[in-house]
């Protein structure tokens, strides 16, 4: 290990590296890693693969084709703070090591010191492209743990907002993905779409971005007629707009050439490596939590789960595009079937009382105070896992309770984390220029992957 010079005020020299041991380990791994490609070849030829982590034979490289390249963590194409250390042979990536944790805030630790309700704003900041689905995922997990029933109207509204969040996330994916491929104008159009969704969130929740609108046992506030009008207008408008985008892209020579056969992964590999969400469905596995174990009212609405067999970036593009259309379909059905009724559980132990109660009755105020103080409690030793299909894939919370108002342990199963692990494998064998497309197509969010 290179010796770091003494500190402070020392000349740091050419050996200076930020976390010496960390980088040592990273480069060691890159050196010793047995590339996924080699392994696949060995398996195809019937040889036994040397095993992951075995020291790969290093060929002589007199012409110096090989180089090690750091992409990120600060790089616009990495969509956050993702660091990929790749070993290149010419322009082809031979091996890749993905290093994450540059946005690690330890939300799992923080959650242990908060009440269940207090933790919800933190979930907004995990997958910050679709805060509403994280709120709902968290609330559903807590409700399962504590056995809280949610009124029907709240469930339908949650579904509408979750699907809006999915569209908003996919809009960003499309715009940024195209910008990575060199088409800047679409980015502006999809951001116009996101702006329209922000306005709906603003009307519904009072916040545009980090909404925190869902509550344990229901919702913070009911949806207004104006919001319903906005959502209907959005659905009507964007059916056409998405069709326009399809017309621009589906047969676009440049877009297809950049995406087709890039980052291909078969269904078996995707399952083996634990891929999730639209990426998994792009490989032909129809795994969608909304179908697999329907939550909220997803079993009552009619929608398709788009699946593509190819498993390349183009397939993932088609899957996500189709998903947006299906989301609009779900939203329209929800709006038609939205029942009247309360929006929060009527139990002081399970949900906040309404503001009228808090302001005008003594009990209401006490309940509000107690709920803020202690909040929902679950039995001691209870543990439950609840997953939803977030825009990125299966987002699950595994909660353990110790009988108090704070969760004893919160485990977040973040889809971006799972997908990034697969990306490390997919990157091997692709061209360096395609990694930009590939990262965009996998659609990771570092806030979620790093927790």
């Amino acid at each position: 290990m290179p010796q770091a010079p003494s500190f402070p005020g020392a000349d740091l020299g050419e050996h200076f590296r930020f976390w010496p041991r960390h980088n040592e380990a990273l480069y060691d791994r890159l050196e010793s890693k047995h590339a996924w490609l080699e392994e696949k070849q060995a398996r195809a030829e019937g040889r036994r693969p040397a095993g992951d982590g075995a020291i790969a034979e290093v060929d002589e490289d007199p012409l110096e084709h090989e180089m090690v390249l750091n992409i990120g963590p600060q790089h616009p194409a990495t969509h956050g703070v993702l660091r990929c250390v790749v070993k290149l042979d010419g322009e082809t990536i031979e091996k890749a090591v993905v290093d994450i944790g540059y946005l690690h805030r330890g939300v799992e630790k923080l959650a242990e010191h908060k009440t269940y309700q207090e933790f919800m704003p933190y979930t907004d900041r995990m997958d910050y492209l679709s805060p509403y689905s994280n709120n709902v995922a968290w609330c559903l997990a807590v409700e399962k743990l504590a056995g809280i029933e949610v009124p029907e109207r709240a469930q339908w509204i949650r579904m509408i907002m979750c699907e809006l969040a999915r569209i908003s996330s996919h809009f960003l994916w499309l715009g940024v993905g195209l910008m990575d491929a060199g088409a800047v104008s679409v980015f502006l159009w999809t951001f116009q779409g996101r702006e329209d969704i922000y306005n709906i969130f603003d009307e519904v929740a009072g916040a545009r971005f980090t909404v925190s609108h869902s509550r344990i046992g229901g919702l913070a506030s009911d949806i207004s007629p104006e919001a319903i009008r906005q959502i209907r207008a959005f659905c009507d408008k964007y059916k056409g707009v998405i069709a326009d985008w399809e017309q621009l892209l589906n047969r676009n020579r440049i877009w297809i050439d950049r995406n087709k056969n890039v980052g291909r992964i078969t269904a078996e590999e995707a399952i083996e490596l634990g891929m999730t969400g639209a990426n998994l469905r792009g490989s032909g596995v129809p795994y969608d939590v909304r179908r697999f174990e329907p939550y909220l009212r997803y079993e009552d609405v009619d929608f398709d789960i788009p699946v593509r067999e190819d498993g390349d970036c183009l397939a993932r593009y088609f899957v996500r595009l189709e998903e947006m259309k299906q989301s609009i379909r779900i939203i329209e059905q929800c709006l038609d079937r939205l029942p009247e009724g309360p929006i929060r559980a009527d139990d002081a132990k399970q949900a906040y009382p309404s503001k009228e109660e808090v302001y005008y009755s003594m009990e209401g105020m006490i309940h509000d105070f107690m709920y803020t103080e202690t909040g929902t409690t679950a039995p001691k030793g209870a543990h439950a896992y609840h997953a939803i299909e977030s825009p990125k894939g299966e987002l699950g919370f595994y909660l353990t309770s110790d009988g108090t108002g704070n969760p004893f342990r919160v485990r977040i199963n973040a889809p971006s984390f799972t997908n990034l692990q697969v990306m490390e494998y997919i990157m091997e064998g692709t061209l360096l220029a395609d990694t930009v497309i590939l990262i965009g197509s996998i659609d990771p969010v570092m806030g979620e992957a790093d927790k």
């Binding site: 976390w19 380990a25 994450i100 799992e108 056995g147 634990g274 139990d347 039995p379 209870a382 004893f408």
Partner: protein, 240 residues
């Protein structure tokens, strides 16, 4: 009802029915019996009696030593030495081909302090199962399941990073989030929420600000004492 009428106590009416107040904040000590399957969010996928049965047939009761059900979710407790065999069995015989999640739980003051759970899915059968192993503080090693489920790779690294549980036979045993130079395992209960001062090199707060500590203590050979090696009661020892 007018607003000022809300606060008025209702007139006492003679009736046999006692109103049951739902509102109480005493923590529920143990899950009630009906919590096992009655839950408004219960899913069909999470109840797997036939798989549990098959597991009990294939392994003896020291290996599958307990089955817990809460909120209609089955959790199978497995002896940690045999976890790879159980995973292998579930994958080959029972179709649990999709690995979803793995993580640790620090149960602190209990015996067998740590728990590692495995969340598996059978895509064809539409079933979910959760396995759990208990890990004693004195022997923080669990056999790695990466040979069976390749997807467990990063999750096991994360578990090592956060809890300090080693996974035997893991191909790439690095930390997941924290830098390799970091000396602690943050999700352990005794790790303070605000962190350990000086454990990470942080930049000065202002451009002209002076560095208050050696940012590369680990590289200079300094080994901070680990709080989890110390007995619980010895708080004074730490403060000097």
């Amino acid at each position: 009802m007018r607003d000022d009428e809300r606060n008025v106590q209702p007139k006492h009416e003679e009736s046999d029915e006692q109103e049951v107040l739902k509102f109480h904040f005493t923590p529920v000590d143990e899950p009630r019996e009906e919590d096992a399957d009655r839950n408004p969010h219960a899913k069909k996928t999470t109840r797997v009696p036939e798989v549990v049965h098959a597991l009990r047939d294939a392994f003896d009761e020291n290996v599958i030593w307990r089955v817990e059900t809460y909120a209609n979710e089955d959790t199978v407790f497995v002896d940690k030495a045999r976890i790879v065999d159980v995973c292998q069995f579930l994958r080959e015989e029972e179709g649990f081909n999709y690995f979803v999640d793995l993580g640790g739980v620090d149960r602190f003051t209990e015996d067998d302090r740590y728990e590692v759970f495995y969340n598996l899915v059978a895509l064809e059968r539409q079933k979910r199962i959760r396995l759990k192993v208990r890990v004693d503080e004195a022997d923080l090693e669990v056999p790695s399941v990466t040979d069976v489920y390749r997807a467990a790779n990063w999750n096991e690294r994360e578990c090592w990073d956060m809890f300090g549980i080693r996974f035997e036979g893991h191909p790439d045993h690095r930390r997941m989030y924290m830098p390799e130079d970091f000396e602690y395992h943050p999700l352990r209960k005794e790790f303070p929420q605000l962190g350990v001062p000086g454990s990470l090199p942080l930049p000065p707060q202002t451009p002209e600000g002076e560095l208050t500590m050696d940012p590369f203590a680990a590289a200079h050979g300094s080994k901070p004492r680990k709080s989890y090696d110390e007995p619980q009661s010895d708080v004074a020892d730490d403060e000097e």
